[in-house]
Subunit: 206 residues, 2 copies
Amino acid sequence: MQEPAHANATVPPEQASRAERERQDFGRRLRALRSARGWTLAQLADRSGLAISTISKAERGIMALTYDRMLQLARGIGVDMAEFFASEGEAFAPGGFAVARLGEFRRQETGSYVYEMLFPEIRNKAMTPMIGTLRADCPMSFDDFVRHAGQEFLIVLDGVVTVHAEGRPTVKLRAGESIYFDSARGHLYSADAGQDARILVVCTES
Amino acid sequence: MQEPAHANATVPPEQASRAERERQDFGRRLRALRSARGWTLAQLADRSGLAISTISKAERGIMALTYDRMLQLARGIGVDMAEFFASEGEAFAPGGFAVARLGEFRRQETGSYVYEMLFPEIRNKAMTPMIGTLRADCPMSFDDFVRHAGQEFLIVLDGVVTVHAEGRPTVKLRAGESIYFDSARGHLYSADAGQDARILVVCTES
DNA sequence: AACACGGTTTTCCGATAGGAAAAGGGGTTT
DNA sequence: AAACCCCTTTTCCTATCGGAAAACCGTGTT
């Protein structure tokens, strides 16, 4: 796969070679899955209905398969698409064990939110727990909701919090009450007037 | 996408239309992900570096994207390839939104632990938040650690908790302090003598 | 109604996916 | 070492992907 002269090219050459590296990555995973089963190209071709040459080229990263072919391959190998790509990630944590003591938090101020991320030193963790303080005197702009991948859990530690969620009536939560939702739904928190609020938020995936 | 006359065709026509149905399925998922964020085709095109027309055709299932483009799309949307296809199964939750009010918890007593699972009605959630009470007068048997898949986050709401973790020195946590670890590591909690303790535990994957 | 505007779909065509078949590249057997 | 055999890579060519731009479709505005 040579760098395309490409009349319609929008992708800069440096990003193109990055794409190539990633294709090769995919190819290595594919070859690993095949040879782990002790299959030849011909056998996988037979099971998946693809041509031998196609699989060969895909494994060597010189060709990018279309969705259709990947689906056939996944079926032929006997994995579903999700776990086909599951091995992309890395293992979790340096030691996989950490304690957060009072007063050792790293403060992160994003606009009018004040968040303290609890375990910044752990890599690839499945959850991101944060403790936040919402200022009573600092109302949010109700225009732009926050939206991101993953799911979100919020519990009120102190005060009263109003949760605004897209397509849902406003929810008022007192200390000890909690809420759980898909983070792709636009959302926004604010403290009720008169008293600051402290919340614990746990998000999955960043 | 008309059924190809295809000089090289190996795929029987019935399977070809099945492939088409699956492409349309992929397209619907893609459109769902985009519109859940409130983005237009142009906005996603901008974020992913793909042409508007390409995304439009992919969403309508009349074109099968190659691996490269799907990767760009996944990045643009902010999901990794694995969870890109994770939604092949079932969508999360009945509405994906739930509130847990005080006094509405379902109590689950497992041995000497008393746990209240917060959102039992949500299916397929990525996290399982629970509130637990540890009795001061009920010491645990230090022999059998608990071990399970996933990761675990614990924060102390009240009292003082001692965490025993396999291969680690004992950790004492006061209210507001927390701990994060891989649940496969054997673990066990107990309240310090003299006072009951309340904890919030969030686990991933069961 | 004509116009402008923000979004989506369609058209057109060059670059590329992907199949069939031929060409490597080890091994083992005669 | 030639003749097989099995597996992988390369070649060649058509069907398809995928980008730019034009056409299309609401929904307000003058």
